[in-house]
Amino acid sequence: MSRLLAVAGLAIRELWVTFRLLLLVAGLLVTALPSALLTPQGVASDHISGRLQPFAIGLGAALALLAAVAAGSMASERSEGTAGWLVSRAVPRPMVVIGWFLAFALVLLVGLAPSAALVWLTLGPVDEALVQPLGYALAILAAWAAGLAVVALGLLLGSLLGTVSSGLVALLVAGALLVPPTLGVLPTLAYAPAPAAALALVAELPSASRPIADALRTCGLSLAAAGGVLVLAAAAMQRADL
């Protein structure tokens, strides 16, 4: 456990030193700005949708960026020899992947929590009648889990490809997966694949009939997806040249 925390701590410091941490947290905070700056318009439920949909779209873009940074970071760890240095200090290869995963999970939490709180604060009393605090909190939790799934995807790609190529592929795949459902484009909430469904739920929260159940379902599926892809990333790292 001590070694895993040491690896995660190094990963966070590496993100901080290279300004990637600031980029990611700022990217997540910026997603709240359109909602905060929107002026109330239309009827109540449209008004909320008007606030939550840009937030969900922004989250999709920010999470795609997160996946790209995760991929580039993992590939860079391999090419720069820092992963090799840890492995030659008897750190198991999967522990390097899991350490970076924990680091990104924390960064995502640090960026997402204030961003979601800011959006919640922009909702007025009328809006709050349509969006329950628990439903909103669970939808954000599901979005966090969706972020973990795309981080795992990024780490998998970073274990297989070079820095630039893995970053680009992760950006495109995660963007294509997460953004369209938030735009109301296919697939709809009920049929969206697990990580994307979380963001679709954030966008459609005012009209969701079972927000808590949907949030818990998508959260669980996203966590399962994250776990599965993380296992693949660890397996890919086992076979990678460092």
């Binding site: 030193v17 020899g81 090799g84 240095w85 492995v87 030659s88």
Partner: protein, 235 residues
């Protein structure tokens, strides 16, 4: 060299306490072999037994725990300070706080890292990075030390002082692009040629044949004598 394997089913057996110089034609073969022995790359074929350890025993107290590798330029995050690198290496080696402190202090003194202790390692230049890399590798008391062209940024006297590693049980494999600078540090020589072990001899065989410890001398020995085991060659 396009299309030729850098390594082709190498078989290497090194006894406990050996100080082995590894050179190769082409030059990239020796560092590649060290990378494989360090667990950074996978060997598809070949057999290695170093100091009684079989590659690659993944048990908790096996190969990974007992072998340390020092790349030419540190390998750790360059923004870490020497103190942080040494503490981290001791922590990853599983030492408790008190022993960690003791080992780190000893390493700082031996490797003369005091003046740069709390600055980013990269600010100390390549010599500092290389000193820290070796100090971090030795802090865990490895049984086998893999050195890839080590301490090139240091002057000869300081390099010889730091590479004069104590202990009869420590086995060292040192790959070098300048074999002549390793005189006095090694007692065995291995030449990899076309991906295979072309020569494995004791250092003193070179002297007995009037050959210098240099690439030319090693090649001359390899061309003039069949590959022999160090025991047979040195007896």
């Amino acid at each position: 060299m396009a299309g030729r394997r850098l390594l082709d089913g190498v078989e290497l057996r090194v006894p406990v306490g050996a100080r082995l110089l590894l050179v190769s034609e082409p030059e990239a073969s020796a560092p590649l072999l060290l990378g494989i022995l360090a667990g950074l790359m996978r060997a598809r074929r070949g057999r290695f037994e170093i100091a009684g350890l079989r590659y690659a025993d993944d048990s908790p107290r096996g190969w990974r725990r007992r072998v340390a590798y020092v790349p030419p330029h540190g390998g750790f995050y360059p923004w870490l300070s020497p103190l942080e690198v040494l503490n981290l290496a001791a922590r990853l080696a599983g030492f408790g706080r008190a022993e960690r402190r003791q080992r780190v202090e000893a390493a700082i003194e031996h490797f003369r890292l005091g003046p740069v202790l709390r600055r980013a390692a990269s600010r100390g230049g390549p010599g500092t990075l290389q000193r820290i890399g070796l100090a971090a590798a030795l802090i865990g008391d490895p049984e086998v030390l893999l050195l890839e062209d080590p301490l090139r940024a240091l002057d000869d006297a300081e390099r010889a002082r730091l590479l004069d590693l104590p202990g009869d049980r420590l086995t060292v494999l040192l790959s070098s692009t300048q074999p002549e600078s390793e005189d006095g540090l090694v007692d065995q020589v291995v030449l990899l040629r076309a991906g295979r072990v072309a020569l494995h001899a004791r250092r003193r065989v070179l002297s007995e044949r009037g050959l210098p410890l240099s690439m030319r001398g090693i090649l001359a020995l390899a061309d003039g004598a069949p590959a022999a085991s160090p025991t047979a060659a040195g007896a």
